[in-house]
Symmetry: C2
Subunit: 305 residues, 2 copies
């Protein structure tokens, strides 16, 4: 699976992932109004608005990018109606040839992680049929429970040729609270990194493993350390743009070959029309603003590679 | 919210939580057969089987217990059809007067955790309406991202009088891989415990905080340390029964007042009819076997308090 991602990155020349994390206040009024007229000011109405918003953004960006990353929390908050749109968005993106990283940060004890792995990456046997649930291409997972909480995800990746990104060093302000604490002189995030390498060793696909890592762009010195410590691990990099990291901050996430990292931007792209820089598009042309923001982001990143 | 749980524990004299974690192979054949006949060997058919299974177990145990804990992964693996049954199970249990602990172990950066908190504990504004999504009473959460990943959950607990259980020391075999590593002489799980106390300090309800901790019964020495370190934190305790912990192992999770812990059992109760001990009930009377298993579990725990 990681090879498919690399090929798409090389083809588009854009190590860019569009974060499909719709908040209601990102959605232009004319879209929400139409959905509320159809379904009322209900969860169904909100979900319909999100779907129309997502679809226009995908239609205006799919040819420029290798992948998208829907954050499932943004759909879960609208309950079943929201999750229907999560599923529909995953399918629609895959039909357009995009790879989909389900950003769900799941993780639990072994038997439960196995159920999450089935839910998001695998197949489940029902009677004599094999069924799929959300069926994304990659999934983000949380390592706090250790090897037996991650192993079931790795097993499904191997069986189904899927990929993972394990949280190593996250982009948020308090990520250091536990992740940076030193254990025998080594910060926890580096120990987690070593385990990610170990978990991914059996899942290599060319130069890189199907087991990747989440490494926030907001801590570039740590990205540099991790890049050296895990040369064959692909990084999913949040934190660019709205969270404050610049292209220069991204540089240490990449290997010498210009590969090794896929950079996510959510707000910065899907709500681009709200920025002064793209205000001339106006709310009606929000998706064109998103397209321009993708072009600018790819150019910005390529300028430092 | 924690006071409601305590009152129900005192009323039922059972610090017992039934883990509604249905796996297809726990469900007696006669139930699955009927569902497959109605809906085919599909996700819908499987979900219908789970619903009929859950409902019978709830009907046979609700008067004996304070709460249930559906593990959302077991529903997610059946996609939207499974999640419909998760929602239906939550509602049904609440109608029976049970408190519901959503076992979802969510956790992310601030804005995303806020969306998860809304999804599972809060309300979302859609136009001029306030809507709820899954609306459980408690939620389990993962602390790896630190304070700003937990704060939004705590805020919703305060606003809506709900509760949390934060992963501190989990029950699985490899939980020690990161959680037991020492930082300046103190294991990570104790540092997480200290943060849980800090996060919960603003959320007190009587003697206990609405912010609780997940503490596995499988490591009784560590439970004892944590019990002392966080006297006003309620423990959600997995690991009893099928995972190997005995009543004696549970003892250190409780305070002198006989409170402080709610013990979960999933397989041991919902699939009791598969154990030799309860085999005389037979698959047709699986829910009566579950009832007997709850009675036995409460007695077993009370014998050490």
């Amino acid at each position: 699976m990681i090879q498919q991602l690399i090929q798409k990155i090389q083809k588009t020349k854009a190590p860019v992932c569009v974060g499909l994390d719709p908040m209601l206040n990102y959605i232009p009024e004319h879209i929400l109004r139409e959905s509320f007229q159809k379904f009322g000011e209900t969860l169904e109405g909100a979900a319909d608005g999100i779907w129309n918003f997502n679809r226009e953004i995908i239609d205006h960006t799919w040819d420029l990018i290798p992948c998208v990353k829907p954050q499932i929390a943004m759909y879960e908050q609208f309950g079943l109606e929201g999750l229907k749109i999560y599923e529909k968005t995953v399918r629609y993106c895959q039909e357009k040839g995009l790879l989909v990283i389900g950003d769900a940060k799941r993780g639990d004890i072994g038997s439960t992680s196995a159920a999450y792995a089935t839910a998001h990456l695998g197949k489940i046997k029902v009677g004599s049929n094999l069924c799929t649930a959300f069926n994304t291409d990659f999934l983000t997972v949380n390592p706090y429970l250790g090897t037996d909480g991650i192993k079931p995800f790795v097993d499904v990746c191997r069986a189904e040729d899927k990929g993972l990104f394990v949280l190593v060093k996250t982009s948020n302000p308090s990520s250091g609270e536990f992740q940076d604490r030193k254990i025998d002189g080594t910060p926890l995030y580096e120990l987690v990194a070593d385990k990610v390498v170990e978990w991914g060793a059996d899942c290599m696909s060319g130069e890189y493993s199907n087991v990747g890592a989440v490494v926030g762009a907001t801590y570039p010195e740590m990205s540099a350390i991790l890049r050296k410590r895990m040369p064959h691990t692909y990084f999913l990099v949040p934190g660019y743009g709205a969270q404050g990291a610049t292209a220069e901050d991204l540089k240490p996430c990449f290997n010498q070959d210009g590969l090794g990292a896929i950079v996510n931007s959510s707000r910065g792209i899907i709500a681009a029309y709200k920025q002064e820089k793209y205000a001339m598009f106006g709310p009606e042309n929000f998706a064109e603003a998103s397209r321009q923001a993708v072009i600018d982001m790819a150019k910005d990143i390529n300028s430092v590679l």
